[in-house]
């Protein structure tokens, strides 16, 4: 029974104000971007960005959608890479976590260390880059977007600790029934690990969706750009506008560059904003699994 004493009342007031304040701070940049994207270029030059647009104009979106090829291309790239990469990454992570969780695997500790060591020491960017470019020849291929970050030791460890909580008895009885380890993995362990799979899958998918680093390091062919990297190019480069204007047939001087950058940003974060309420609870659950068990 929680008594509603005066100290608790004070605390609750502090709690609500702080949290509302923090939530607002977290949301304000988004509001600024949305408002800026539907603003008139002239009013931005005059008054600057503000939360409520001074004058509304959908010019930026019109121009953005006039030549949607590059956006659609980047979206397709990112969606494809996310789906394929998450599936592969999740499967391998689960397989590895499963084996590492088996106490009757005699090389378990040595191999765990093999993976764990990569977390605490690595030789840095240059050798990795050389391997990717010279040895694996990932330059300008979809593999460059998929493979470099498909696995992550942390996720493997979380999966391992989740699967360790599956009782040994289930294994034993499956073994007695004649199943080999791969059968046990596919038919029993995987279905039982759905919460961990959902959460880690989400983390991996989020990593792929927001990835711009692989495009930055390895891709020069703009047909292969990931979505975030495409946005980066648009927002940071003037040439993007020259190209856009020549394709679209609009006079470069009249392109509303500022609202256009923001319109692109809105178009790029659109899906995340829409999907977010649905995936939030899986994400929170996933963090909880990681925190309590890890």
């Amino acid at each position: 029974m929680i008594k509603n004493t005066i100290d608790r009342k004070i605390f609750i007031v502090i709690a609500y104000t702080t949290i509302i304040f923090t939530s607002m701070i977290c949301l304000i940049p988004f509001m600024l971007v949305i408002s800026g994207s539907i603003s008139n270029q002239a009013s931005i030059y005059q008054y600057g960005y503000s939360i409520i647009p001074k004058s509304i104009s959908l010019e930026a979106y019109k121009i953005a959608f006039l030549s949607p090829d590059e956006i659609i291309r980047s979206y397709a790239n990112t969606i494809g890479v996310t789906v394929v990469g998450t599936s592969i990454g999740l499967l391998i992570t689960a397989m590895t976590g499963y084996v590492l969780s088996r106490k009757d695997f005699e090389w378990r500790n040595k191999i765990s260390f093999f993976f764990y060591f990569t977390m605490i020491f690595n030789v840095g960017l240059v050798p990795w880059y050389i391997i990717c470019v010279n040895f694996l020849k990932l330059n300008d291929t979809y593999f460059a977007l998929l493979i470099p970050f498909v696995l992550n030791v942390f996720y493997i460890l979380v999966m391992k600790s989740f699967m360790s909580s599956i009782p040994q008895a289930i294994h034993e009885s499956a073994r007695v029934d004649g199943a080999n380890d791969i059968h046990i993995f596919i038919r029993i362990i995987l279905p039982m690990s759905k919460p961990a799979l959902a959460s880690i899958g989400l983390f991996i998918a989020l990593g792929y969706w927001n990835d711009w680093y692989t495009s930055f390091m390895f891709i020069s062919n703009k047909d292969l750009f990931s979505l975030q990297f495409y946005l980066y190019k648009v927002v940071s480069g003037a040439e993007a506008f020259q190209q856009l204007s020549s394709v679209v047939g609009v006079d470069p001087a009249s392109i509303p560059t500022e609202p256009l950058k923001l319109a692109m940003t809105v178009i790029v974060i659109g899906p995340i904003v829409l999907l977010y309420p649905h995936i939030q609870k899986y994400f929170v659950k996933g963090l909880t699994i990681g925190a309590v068990k890890g």
Binding site: M1, I2, T5, D7, R8, F11, I12, A15, Y16, T18, I19, T22, S23, I25, C26, P29, L32, V33, Y47, G48, Y49, I92, T93, M95, T96, Y98, R102, F105, E106, F115, T118, M119, F121, N122, V123, G124, L125, V126, P127, W128, Y129, I131, L136, D181, N210, W212, F229, L231, V235, S236, E258, L262, I269, Y276, F283, L287, T288, G290, A291, V292
Partner: protein
């Protein structure tokens, strides 16, 4: 000799399914983490393109000496370490603070919505955050300057002001990652036994004392583990953040360049493989030293908290 081999083969066959399942991960980590260790040789060579990695002449510790004598690297190392320490302190404090506040709120709807708001920045990429920063701090039409103008203060230009970036970067890092940590600590708090609180309340402790004497000590193990994990990365700069926020703005490098941006820029622009590799190795060695030392220290304090 053949007896040993026979034993090993027998073990491999006994564990064959496990090993089959492990193969993809083993290959991946071998290629991307262990194989590059060969490339570490570059740090000790004077690389030239014609001779390749193995043909280029050795130059001993020259690359390392050059880095330390030249002095650039000290600034970058200092920035990296100081920022990371600031991040750890600032983020942990606010996350715990928010988690404690959230844990006492009864209304689940409010909890869910506010958690959603606070966690949301975690889901967007640094590219987008870079756009936000530009949006807010742009000299001509940024929101911050617009606000300052409206209350008759001179607008500020952060893009040629290195010191202004320090609080900005710390704040943005906090903004982006506070949701994540808050959720973690909230989960830890919710696993604390409620009976202790009730007993304390009966004994007359008000809410602030309950927090100080029950919540925080119970959180200590979680805090220590998370801080230990972060300390291991004290020399690893968040490349994505620094590159997207600062970009190629060399005027502010004195306070915003970290080892990772420094190395990446050197790799892509100057192609000085030998020295860039040396910088990377310095970073990793320092990181390893930090991890081993901090783990040893923690072991002396309490064995349970150690990472390995």
């Amino acid at each position: 000799m053949s007896f040993v081999i026979k034993k090993v083969i027998k073990k491999v066959i006994k564990n064959k399914y496990y090993l089959i399942l492990l193969i993809p991960a083993l290959i991946y980590f071998f290629i991307f983490y262990y194989l590059p260790m060969v490339g570490a040789l570059l740090a000790f060579k004077k690389y030239n393109y014609a001779d390749g990695i193995f043909g280029s002449p050795w130059c001993g510790l020259d690359n390392f000496k050059f880095m330390f004598i030249n002095g650039d690297i000290f600034g970058v190392i200092r920035n990296t370490a100081l920022y990371n320490i600031a991040f750890i302190i600032v983020n942990t404090t606010f996350e715990i603070f928010l988690a404690i506040l959230l844990s006492e709120i009864g209304c689940r709807f409010f909890k869910k919505i506010s958690q959603g708001c606070i966690l949301f920045p975690y889901f967007i990429s640094w590219v987008v955050v870079g756009t936000f920063v530009y949006n807010m701090f742009n000299y001509e039409f940024g929101a911050v300057n617009g606000f300052l103008k409206s209350i008759n203060i001179d607008p500020i230009n952060i893009y040629n002001n290195p010191t202004a970036w320090i609080p900005i970067i710390i704040f943005i890092k906090l903004w982006k990652e506070i949701g994540y940590g808050t959720v973690l600590y909230l989960a830890a708090i919710s696993s604390i036994d409620q009976e202790m609180y009730e007993a304390a309340e009966i004994d007359g402790a008000n809410i602030f004392r309950r927090i100080r004497h029950i919540t925080i000590p119970s959180l200590l193990p979680t805090i220590i583990i998370l801080v230990l994990l972060s300390i291991g990365n004290v020399f690893k700069g968040d490349f994505q953040m620094f590159y997207q926020l600062v970009g190629s703005n060399s005027m502010v490098y004195s306070t915003t360049d970290v080892i990772d941006t420094f190395v990446t820029r050197s790799l892509l622009n100057t192609r000085e493989f030998g020295m860039t590799t040396a910088a990377g190795i310095i970073q990793s060695v320092f990181g390893l030293i930090v991890i081993v030392t901090s783990n040893c220290c923690i072991k002396k304090y309490d064995r349970d908290y150690a990472l390995y």
